[in-house]
Amino acid sequence: MPKQSTDVRPGRAGAIAAAVKDASGTALLALGLSFPILALRTDQNMANQLVLDQRWGYVAVAVALAFLARLLYLLRLGFAAPTAPRIATPDADRAPLVRAVTIAGVVLLLAFPFLVLAAAGPTGAIKWIDNFAIQILIYVMLGWGLNIVVGLAGLLDLGYVAFYAIGAYAFALLAQHYDLGFWVCLPLAGILAAFWGVLLGFPVLRLRGDYLAIVTLAFGEIIRLVAINWVDLTRGYAGISGVPRATFFGLPFEDSEDGFAAFFGLEFLTIHRTIFFFYVILGLAAMTNWVTLRLRRLPVGRAWEALREDETACRSLGINTTNTKLTAFSLGAMFGGLAGAFYVTSRGQGFVTPESFTFMESALILAIVVLGGLGSQVGVAIAAIVLIGGTELLRELEWMKQIFGRDFEPTHYRMLIFGLAMVLVMIWKPRGVISTRMPSIFLRQRRAVRADLVGEGHG
């Protein structure tokens, strides 16, 4: 293919003119879209009345961006050579490399707290382990849990946060009222969440895709509203506080005679607890991954993937779709519940309120799964690291504050960007940006085209 810059095809000037015209149209559209909502900001004055703040500069920027984006897109589209779709081949020769990277990653993860401790000292390291590593791992676990439901079984669950909430509340209530320890409450919270998954899933799982999404959304909201309004049990908006924190198999993390530090003859540091939590969530996430990987090889896992590809065909082949969906749904719920219980004792600081379980939280977990690649374990983990770690990192950056003002809060912008990214991913790479997960088993010989190049159940 000749270089694009020297390519003098007939009608090139015409193509550019057409592209400019088209981009002008886009710019005009951007003007129309941004006119009221971007140009005029409503603000309250001292008398609590709304006044308008005019910001035409933003509109100009938006219009210019729309124009340029559309122009570049059209020019690229007009002159780029049509590339033949690549056929994915399973690379057997990459297996040792993958194995080496995996082992290196696991070793790095296991050593992470001590590396950070050595680099940043006991006070500086808490931020990196707690804000970054533990938070990311919670989302990795939630992403993997939801991945079973959405990625493997193809059930769009918009209320996943409900099970996170059930796990959190179950843990808080059990620990407070029955004085049970962390290691007893954790599995109980998981089992309760799985039970609720069955209970909620049983009536609704025969609904078709979009209905199921809405119903799970409604469930998520119902759980949150009940948590707000059942004040006798949950103390409403105030939340449950003072949940006993996790202990190291009976040794509390406190500065006392029978504390963890004294028992091992160490100097008391709050970071001991943080490091302990890191290993707990690492173990929980590893368990989620391990269970998923194993189940994917079992008939039930194969049935999930088949269900994702074509439900009608599954039913014709005699797979009990309701039971198959139910196992995926309740298993996902269980991992959500475990993550919820862990959240209360670690990052929640023994405190749980309904505010942590809004729809936006579900949406964030869904964004992780979608952007990571439906069904792909590695993709979801990377997406969680990038999305959650990226947001935390943005919060740290000083120069961002200098550009956007002192009260710059990246979490406001992150859902804006993730929402748009979800749309773009669906348009360009619907099977995921970071990684693609094909069904574990399918007929290799007779397929002329890759599975993701054709619509579902055809070809």
């Binding site: 009221p36 900001r41 409503t42 309250q44 709304l50 979009d210 964004a367």
Partner: protein, 305 residues
Amino acid sequence: MEYFIQQVINGVTLGSIYGLIAIGYTMVFGIIGMVNFAHGDVFMLSAFIALIILLALTQILGITPLALALLIVLILAMVLTSLWAWAIERLAYRPLRGSFRLAPLISAIGMSIFLSNLVQVTQGPRNKPVPEILNGVFTFGDPAGYTVTLSYKQILIVAVTALLLAAFWYVVQMTSIGRAQRACEQDRKMAALLGVDVDRTISLTFVMGAALAAVAGLLFMIYYGVVHFNDGFVPGVKAFTAAVLGGIGSLPGAVLGGLLIGLIEVLWAGYFSNDYKDVATFSILVIVLVFLPSGLLGRPEVEKV
């Protein structure tokens, strides 16, 4: 009795707003079989657009006659919201026709998240108190006992809703645009073969749904006197519930469902508990979908392979 009448008046008012939003859900579902998840946020966006234009008219341009200002706001909000809906359909939904099953739905959810956060970022996260307009009320009943009040706002809402529904009904039933829409709803491929521009018809369906949502947004803003960037979520789900209850795909069903949901919500809050009124609506959604998936006026769905 007076209390009941009062609740019914409030319920019908609220139900009108839900009905207007529900039409957008039901039409889009009828024609392309997808739940337009972003519709609730389009409604919220339209409320903000209406608020901003109202403020711009009164504060910057100094248009004082209220009726004139409201009329301009109504028209501009309808046009600008339709523009948004058109752009959303073009950008986020059209490229996904024929993609895998969950793709349009995930795209719609992404759009919904984008819209609510866009409004949060551009307009700020706080509640926006709307300037007080149309505050008059009619009062009926024994002045000593419980009186029934009917506010100008409520009359406006019901009147505007009835008027627009009539116009809308005319467009769908009597014009060539409506005929094309109904044809696409029955069989898109056949309609295309017979010369119907399917893409244009689908765009138009989104635009019409958004225009009605814009009316709902304006009325919602005036009625409640406050708007918030998260206001699209719960009314959106409730309007979807209304569409499902009435039978998704059915236009009279959407209006009927809207009125029923409005009445149920208000009566539940009036006689049982205000705290659990949303739980009641969401439970209706689940119950209807599980036990009566074709709704009150809908056709039973046939699964095609």
